[in-house]
């Protein structure tokens, strides 16, 4: 299920609605993206983010999200999935995006969830305009691309 909305969401309620009565589900993996304010972290050299505005491409957003959700269902055995992406003005700490994947097996749920959020970061037509003390700036995509590429290398996670 795809929702592109201005409103906030309640993770517990969304998952309950998605999984209720479906007793074949063994695991539910989810990811919530938040507006981050790195002002407290000098190592990043980032400026304080006061708030941001998420612009999107109505129509294409829903189409692209539905396509990638269908792709996840082809790759993994999922009982249910949900993608919520907000747009409009958001403050530090606010929820931006939610991905939920439910499956009989935890591995499928976890992998599909990681796949969807990586894809969202690199393909979903959203753009962040951050307000900083020195003015509004469009967020550069570089950091997101690097992180997504590293995602599937997983050298750090080897047992």
């Amino acid at each position: 299920m795809i929702k592109v909305q201005r409103e906030d969401f309640d993770l517990g309620r969304e998952i309950d609605a998605l999984t209720r009565g479906r007793h074949g589900i063994g695991g539910v993996a989810s990811f919530v993206g938040l507006v981050r304010d790195l002002a407290g972290d000098p190592s990043t050299g980032a400026q304080a983010v006061r708030s941001m505005t998420l612009e999107h491409y109505p129509g294409m957003t829903e189409k692209q999200l539905a396509d990638i959700e269908a792709e996840a269902h082809r790759r993994w055995k999922l009982d249910a999935s949900l993608i919520i992406h907000r747009y409009g003005r958001l403050d530090p700490g606010d929820r931006i995006v939610l991905v939920v994947c439910a499956s009989p097996h935890r591995q499928a749920a976890l992998e599909a969830c990681a796949f969807l959020i990586d894809w969202l970061k690199t393909k979903a037509p959203f753009w962040k305009l951050e307000e900083t003390p020195t003015g509004a700036e469009w967020v550069d995509a570089r950091e997101a691309d690097d992180a997504a590429a590293a995602r599937w290398r997983r050298d750090q996670a080897a047992e």
Binding site: E55, Y57, P125, W127, W138, A141
Partner: protein, 83 residues
């Protein structure tokens, strides 16, 4: 042809959406961009850094060599930063 601009492309062109009829010689996205740049300094600025511009035709990502038709919806935007 319906044209859409997002993020700083919208700011530089000064519009989010417009209907234009390019000359018949404009067959691909590249040619469309070259023609748009002749329409004014805002377009010139918007399309001055093409490595930071992405294009979708009828809401699907396409390469700049993609062939376009008069009824298409063509959208220009920077690399996405959602999620």
């Amino acid at each position: 042809m319906k044209l859409l601009y997002f993020a700083w492309l919208r700011q530089r062109t000064g519009k989010g959406e417009e209907d234009l009829t390019p000359p018949a010689s404009v067959a691909t996205v590249v040619e469309l961009v070259e023609w748009l740049k002749t329409l004014g300094p805002g377009y010139m600025r918007a399309f001055s850094e093409m490595k930071s511009v992405r294009v979708a035709v009828n809401q699907e990502y396409v390469p700049f060599t993609y062939k376009i038709n008069s009824g298409d919806e063509v959208a220009f935007f920077p690399p996405v930063t959602g999620g």
